[in-house]
């Protein structure tokens, strides 16, 4: 099967991907879904609905397929065209528009392929896109490379919890020095934000799952203060939505009331004075 790229008229992101393919000598067929490709895309969408994300504002383009793989959005498509499956995990469909590209996850890919990642980010930046990346603290050396090469305009760090729960929450052994290094790098970017989601945690095997407590979120805020020696970072506290959980065990959890966020904010402000709560 040929490489097919589904596009919409006036889509700058589609043009950037097409230019990339031309530069790399990758043959492709373009289907404008508002013109000749309308019917074909409808059939394609119906057959592959599970693989295509449709958000509140519709479907993000471009969508690329080579017959085996379907990629959606400028980041995932460029990553696949540049490096195949090596960059899996680093990119997802973004939510930002115009010049901003998000859905770039520093901590989620294979760190062996950091150079490939830099190559994709460089291409995006070379096309005047602004990049918003996120991290949970892992792979601080990649964030350092991004900083050294000025490849991100905005960084969001999800401080998943206090230091002693970090490995438990991420369900893997975490080197806290790596996390601390990331915390120290984040404020060096042009725009940044720390955040913590009040996630459910299984503290001991067999024990009931319970949400992070206000005191534990305060300790996460304190963690940021201790590493950066500043209480004045933008810091957002978010609710966990059990319905969107990937882990089946969590789907049945009772969601926390939005008003409980204020209690978390009050205690977190002891260590991060600009702590705010997520609004609907």
């Amino acid at each position: 099967m040929n490489n097919i790229i589904f596009t919409v008229p006036g889509c700058t992101r589609c043009k950037i991907v097409k230019d990339f393919m031309k530069e790399k000598g990758i043959a492709y067929v373009e289907k404008d879904i508002k013109a000749e490709g309308k019917e074909e895309f409808q059939q394609f969408y119906t057959a592959n609905r599970k693989s295509i994300y449709r958000g509140a504002e519709g479907i993000e383009f471009p969508i690329f397929t080579d017959g085996n793989k379907i990629c959606q959005g400028i980041g995932p498509v460029l990553a696949y065209l540049n490096s195949g499956e090596k960059l899996a995990g680093y990119f997802s469909v973004g939510t930002l528009h115009r010049e901003w590209v998000d859905g770039i996850h520093i901590s989620s890919g294979n760190s062996k392929y950091a150079d490939d990642l830099m190559s994709v980010l460089r291409y995006l930046k070379g096309n005047a896109m602004k990049l918003k990346v996120d991290t949970n603290g892992k792979h601080s050396h990649i964030l350092q490379m991004i900083l050294d090469n000025a490849l991100a305009d905005n960084v969001v760090m999800n401080v998943v919890g206090p230091p002693d729960l970090y490995s438990t929450i991420l369900e893997e052994e975490v080197d806290l020095r790596d996390i601390e290094k990331t915390i120290s790098l984040v404020p060096k970017f042009p725009e940044y934000q720390f955040q913590t989601t009040i996630v459910p945690v299984m503290r001991q095997e067999g024990e009931a799952i319970s949400y992070l407590t206000p005191e534990e979120v305060a300790l996460a805020a304190k963690f940021i203060e201790e590493v950066t020696r500043s209480k004045k970072h933008p810091y957002l506290i978010k609710l966990f939505n059990p319905r969107e959980a990937k882990d089946e065990r969590l789907k049945s959890l009772e969601p926390l009331s939005p008003n409980i966020l204020f209690k978390y904010r009050t205690v977190a402000r002891e260590y991060q004075m600009f702590a705010e709560v997520e609004r609907e």
Binding site: N259, F262, K263, R265, T266, R269, M273, F274, V277
Partner: protein, 480 residues
């Protein structure tokens, strides 16, 4: 607004038999929280205690603020909200809403409170039989500011209004943000257009849009409408009004959604057209259970200039496009939207419309329903307080003698009447009637008394006409 250069201040009218007698508290301009008795005697001043507004609590307590944020960076932000005892000791304080670092100023936590707050136990902040505000605990609802951007409204920085609920211990347990509900306010496309371009930009902090400017916030409390099954009037729900948009709204406490509203456009129904445009209003609240008129909405409808919409000669850009140069105090049935009682220039005895601006405060002001059915009205811009009976007789009048040094005006933002027993530290004062002076004969020293030295009879002149042929027409004098 013809003011003489010389006129008395203090109490000018007092009929103890018809008044609901008590103490009156208000913020004397650039002086402090002042309590006066019915004869105007100043029985207590908490000197320098700011008041936006000041409110008395049972036991001789007062609420206010220890300072205001530098106006170069903030618009009307009070740094805290405090409860102070009779001797000036702070017994409760809240300031931890936002940590503020203004250039050249001491970094500090601030409440950013403005215009209103309500202590648990009482829905409206003034005396209601059986609904005493708590003085040693309970939550406090506070109207605050927050700066944010909301692209639905404008790309400019907004000075948004928020309402927070704070426990006695100072924890915030509830927050409502005005701009989150922009889609529920029913602004016309014309209004959205000018709001987008100029959301009432003020110069503080390099420019911020005070787009709604909520100036009043209170709880509905128990009421007959809810008892009859109308969920919009749940006792926990909150009523507020926005001076810049001419909106009066009730929000559901549980969801934050707008469940009842007047404005921003008063031309959209027969009932609203009959009610007439409410403009730049203040102190809209539901009269609490236990007071005459309970369940009705009492509001000081300032007039002046406010609103967003189509441009007109008085508002070439469409901002502040509703104009009226007199005020009205309205008591409105919230279900039928009929006016139940009003005090306007007509009831005040002025020739309408040519002399209507004698009852006019284009900003601030308030109205408090008293237990005997009287209404205490703050006609704020001229520092005038009046108590009027249901039949519109003025039975008490006071003019503030306090002009500011920085701002040369004797304005009173909002005054409240409290019963004598709320200040147990004082013996109830003597109530001495003050007869209304006949201004036609009243003279200052040196001025000649009224009376003609010579009268000449002119033969053949006709009697004077009534008032129907003035240079300007009363808007409603010709039937449509």
């Amino acid at each position: 607004m013809t003011y003489p250069s010389v006129y008395p201040t203090g109490v000018t009218i007092y009929n103890p038999e018809k008044c609901w007698n008590g103490y009156t508290v208000f913020q004397a301009k650039e002086l402090g929280a002042l309590v006066i008795d019915m004869n105007g005697a100043e029985v207590q001043l908490w000197k320098g205690l700011h008041g936006f507004p000041n409110k008395l609590l049972p036991g001789g307590y007062v609420m206010g603020h220890t300072g205001e944020r530098n106006n170069a960076y903030g618009m009307q932000d009070q740094i805290d909200l405090v409860q102070m005892d009779w001797e000036g000791n702070i017994v409760w304080r809240f300031n931890r809403y936002e940590y503020i670092e203004d250039p050249g100023e001491k970094p500090q936590w601030m409440a950013r409170q403005h215009h209103d707050y309500q202590r648990e136990g009482n829905p409206v902040g003034y005396y209601v039989p059986g609904m005493e505000p708590r003085v040693d605990g309970g939550n406090t609802l506070i109207l605050c500011h927050k700066n944010l951007k909301n692209p639905k409204i404008s790309d400019k920085l907004l000075l948004d209004d928020t309402i927070i609920e704070v426990t006695w211990e100072g924890d915030i347990v509830w927050e409502w943000i005005c701009s989150d509900h922009f889609d529920e306010y029913d602004f016309s496309e014309e209004a959205k257009n000018i709001l987008c371009r100029d959301p009432n930009m003020r110069p503080s902090g390099g420019g911020m849009g005070d787009w709604m400017h909520i100036n009043s916030m209170s709880v509905l409390g128990p009421n007959k409408w809810y008892d009859a099954g109308d969920e919009r009037f749940h006792p926990d729900n909150i009523i507020w009004d926005g001076r810049e948009t001419n909106i009066i709204a009730i929000i559901e406490k549980k969801t934050g959604k707008i469940v009842w509203k007047l404005g921003p456009d008063y031309n959209t129904s027969k009932e609203l057209r009959e009610l007439g445009w409410i403009i730049g209003q203040h102190h809209a609240h539901m009269i609490p259970r236990g007071l005459p008129g309970e369940g009705n909405i009492l509001v000081f409808d300032n007039g002046g200039w406010a609103g967003y919409g189509a441009p007109n000669p008085g508002a070439p850009k469409g901002i502040k496009n509703a104009l009226r140069d007199y005020s009205r105090v309205l008591e409105i049935d919230p279900v039928t939207l009929k006016i139940v009682w009003q005090y306007t220039p007509v009831e005040a005895g002025f020739v309408h419309p040519v002399d209507s601006n004698r009852f006019y405060s284009p900003f601030i002001s308030s109205a408090q329903r008293l237990p005997n059915g009287n209404t205490l009205i703050t006609e704020g811009s001229g520092g005038r307080l009046i108590e009027v009976t249901p039949e519109h007789e003025i039975v008490w009048e006071y003019i503030s003698p306090y002009w500011g040094k920085n701002m040369k005006i004797n304005m009173i933002y909002r005054a409240y009447r409290a019963p004598y027993e709320w200040i147990p530290q004082l013996d109830p004062p003597k109530e001495v009637p003050v007869e209304r002076i006949d201004v036609t004969t009243f003279r200052v020293p040196g001025a000649a008394p009224i009376g003609r030295k010579k009268e000449t009879i002119v033969e053949g002149v006709l009697p004077y006409q009534g008032d129907a042929a003035l240079c300007v027409a009363a808007g409603d004098e010709v039937a449509e």
